[in-house]
Symmetry: C2
Subunit: 260 residues, 2 copies
DNA sequence: TGGCTCGGTTCAGTATATTGAACTAAGTTC
DNA sequence: GAACTTAGTTCAATATACTGAACCGAGCCA
């Protein structure tokens, strides 16, 4: 009975799978696409794409612009609102940092891990210019961000390997400091586990330093990550260590408040 | 050939339709559900729900909590980010109101119309307590909100009737001031078209007054709505009129900046 | 403890969703 | 302005996804 091929069981709800692919595609290119382009890009028959997109339009998952091209629709915002409302992560985050006045001058962010990327679900941008304003819904490559490394430090070596073994799995570096190998990443994650907090020193943006820590579920796996960001010139040794402790402590408190 | 029943063509991509229903359901109840509950609630066979949910979990559209119950997953945030990034509505909004310092003390919101509701896609909450903090992803019934009325004022009478003809179509009022009939609403929308801005005086929250205006596309149909909110005691006649003009002017400018 | 309820999972048969091919229409090029 | 390319749409035939029924297993109550 050899059938060990881990084929992705492509035999259930194909319409749904394809719809997901369409939405991912539209989300990754940053402009609308013609229906025929979508079909070509995904390698599905034109007629199938046609029917699928018609149904998706009916529900406003996608909308057709004035030029006839397809773009993401507002229904997606409704679901995102449901996700944010269902998890109390965001409200706990808001509440906690509303009370942490000594961090008021820093930019604080909350993300969830999504594949090889982190997605920002809450942001407190301080007045201080970092060369980057975090926004809800924004995505960045996990291995370069502080929140991403914090979350990756809680998954198993096997899972990590599955995510980042191949060079093609690696997102393009954002600065010349981007890590590039599984060994390097996994050594760094060891350090994260030892210290209790993660560091991104200029891997996302030149001149920006971020410290992150994971919020964990009952099993110890990361549910989300938080980070504090500052400009490089401010990131002196003692302050860095103090803030690292601070963010680790914040993550632990939030982990606890969420019942874990 | 009598087959005039506008049956919702339930013969295309049923898996997708059902997945949408599942996500809507999970988004509307504010807690996780057991798979069997979902099947019962939607009136679909248990086995179908099982297969569907398995596929949805594979893509992290939904996730299974520690108690085995199903909740919305983080993938939805990614799509929302795509939607927000694709439209420059949000960035134009941010940019415009960042420069409008005379409105700094007011709460300003941006919504899109989604069926009978508006969804908040950007919010500037002022310090002033309104008894309600607007949050991204939040939904409110369109006919009670200023942004909703502003957007409804741009659709045809026929469409309006299709949305709100039946009493059962009306969302539950949020305060004792909620409108309740199509006639009343449509008279109010006439006034909105005359004045150029819409008013919600205590229909969303007792003691809160909001003024809204529509951002339009090339055809004159609303693309989004913006509103300014204040507490009732502040909403004196002259100020109200000035702010109404201001928000209408802001909406027109944004309409123009978006190329319409 | 033993029976019962209810959630989750599996599987073969059939109702039906997908698709290849054919067609229209609109833009583009020479 | 005519030929060509390409997007959008339609439809019957068939490959296949959904379903009903049956099977586990855990929790609950008497």
């Amino acid at each position: 009975m050899p059938q060990p091929t881990k084929t992705v069981t492509a035999g259930a709800a194909p319409a749904l799978r394809r719809a997901i692919e369409v939405l991912d595609l539209l989300g990754s290119v940053h402009e609308p696409m013609a229906a025929a382009d979508i079909a070509r890009e995904l390698g599905i028959p034109k007629s199938s794409a046609h029917g699928l997109i018609a149904t998706m339009m009916e529900y406003e998952l996608v909308i057709r612009g004035v030029d006839g091209r397809i773009r993401l629709g507002p229904r997606l915002m409704r679901w995102a609102g449901g996700f944010l409302g269902q998890t109390n992560l965001v409200s706990e985050f808001e509440h906690y940092f509303a009370g942490a006045t000594e961090l008021d001058d820093y930019t604080i962010t909350l993300t969830v891990l999504e594949g090889r990327e982190v997605v920002y679900i809450a942001c407190h941008n301080s007045g201080q210019p970092l060369g980057l304003t975090f926004r809800i819904g924004m995505r960045l490559p996990a291995p370069y961000t502080a929140t991403g490394k914090a979350q990756l430090s809680t998954i198993s070596a096997g899972e990590l390997e599955r995510l980042f073994a191949e060079p093609k799995d690696w997102p393009a570096p954002l600065t010349h400091l981007g890590v590039g190998s599984l060994e390097q990443l996994s050594a760094e994650l060891d350090a994260v586990r030892r210290n209790g907090y993660s560091i991104d020193a200029g891997q996302v943006r030149e001149g920006m330093v971020c410290l992150g820590a994971p919020i964990k579920d009952h099993s110890g796996r990361a549910l989300a990550g938080i980070a504090v960001s500052m400009i490089r010139s401010e990131a002196t040794g003692p302050l860095l260590e103090a803030l690292g402790e601070r963010i680790r402590c914040a993550a632990d408190t939030l982990t606890h408040r969420l019942g874990n």
